[in-house]
């Protein structure tokens, strides 16, 4: 089973990468770009078909490694 884990900066945490990309896009003439947010997705292939267990494991992974709760939240989508 595959799961997409997306790490997102929490609301209010500055996103310099995003704002820089926005600036670059505006400079390239894409004037309509109002905001760019960076997020990072890990596609994880798990050797299980048990959705509940997968969800639990991934939660643990996020807490242990993939996200820093001080600045990040995460979203899990099981495919």
């Amino acid at each position: 089973m595959e799961a997409d884990v997306t790490i997102i900066l929490k609301k209010g945490v500055a996103d310099p990468e995003g704002s820089n990309v926005k600036k670059a896009l505006n400079l390239l003439g894409f004037d309509e770009v109002r905001k760019v947010q960076t997020m990072k997705t890990f596609r994880i292939d798990l050797a299980t078909e048990d959705r509940g267990k997968a969800k639990k494991d991934i939660d643990e992974m996020c807490k242990k490694l993939l996200a820093n709760p001080v600045i990040q939240t995460y979203r899990v989508e099981i495919r």
Binding site: K10, A14, P16, P69
Partner: protein, 269 residues
């Protein structure tokens, strides 16, 4: 104990790359530093063979996911109990640059309520400029005596230690920012803050990353776990200061950090 008996573990995994400079800093002062790969601490070597643990800078595991996160996760899974024990016994644990990021990810810093928090209580996020910043930084020493790594630097003295990082913006959770900052100050955990040439708490580029409260370095409430973004090992000698052809100095400003920790070990153990 005597200086030449003091064994310092300079801990590394793949991607660590400032280990040579940290090693030499201790070696020049007469101690016995040793490179120790994290995987050696699982079998052949024991952390308690050493009196000091240093995590140098670099890009451990490529800094993938977040700077220091993988190194920290691997340390936690293999070494957690011993590490807590080590720090509890008052042995110094220091992290420079990537090492500071590792200590924060590990929960050994700021460690408000236990030696190691279960989850990180702070973060070192991407610099406000969104760029890697390699530049000299001026630091005001703010530790009132708690930090064992900076005892030889007078309170409020401004020192120069260069920064070189892309993820060094010290942050607390937004909702707890004020509360946590107060803890830091009350516990005498703020060690260095970025300042401008006039000693003022200046913005960019003097604060190269946008850290709250201009924080460059903190220590644990007990003072024996210490992390800093700038690099004291790069200014061991006067001639590695960026402006030494203008302002002559025999010793570099970073030397005192290594002298302080050795002095502490000599007295305590």
């Amino acid at each position: 104990m005597d200086t030449d008996d003091i064994r310092v573990a300079v801990l590394l995994i793949e991607g660590t790359n400032n280990e040579g400079e940290v090693y030499l800093a201790f070696k020049r002062l007469g101690a016995e530093p040793e490179f120790v790969h994290l995987k050696q601490l699982m079998h052949e070597k024991d952390i308690f063979d050493y009196q000091c643990l240093m995590i140098p800078g670099g890009f451990s595991a490529g800094d993938y996911i977040r700077a220091g996160a993988i190194f920290a996760a691997r340390m936690k899974s293999t070494l957690c109990k011993k590490l807590i024990e080590f720090a509890k016994n008052g042995y110094p644990v220091g992290g420079i640059c990537n090492g500071f990021q590792v200590l924060v990810e590990l929960g050994l810093l700021p460690a408000f309520d236990s030696v190691m928090s279960n989850y990180p209580q702070a973060a070192l996020a991407i610099n406000d400029s969104s760029r890697f910043e390699c530049r000299p930084t001026l630091l005001k020493h703010e530790s009132k005596g708690n930090c064992i790594f900076t005892k030889k630097i007078p309170y409020q003295e401004v020192v120069l230690m260069p920064s070189a990082h892309a993820e060094g913006k010290f942050l607390f959770p937004l909702e707890k920012k004020d509360e946590y900052l107060q803890y830091l100050i009350d516990n005498d955990q703020v060690v260095f803050r970025y300042v401008g040439p006039q000693g003022d708490y200046a913005g960019y580029p003097w604060n190269p990353n946008g850290s709250i409260h201009n924080i460059a370095s903190i220590c644990s409430p007990e003072g024996n776990v210490f992390g800093m973004m700038p690099h004291p090992e790069r200014v061991f000698y006067g001639f590695t200061h960026p402006d030494w052809t203008r302002v002559h100095k025999e010793n570099g400003d970073g030397k005192a950090v290594f002298e302080s920790v050795l002095d502490y070990i000599r007295r305590k153990f």
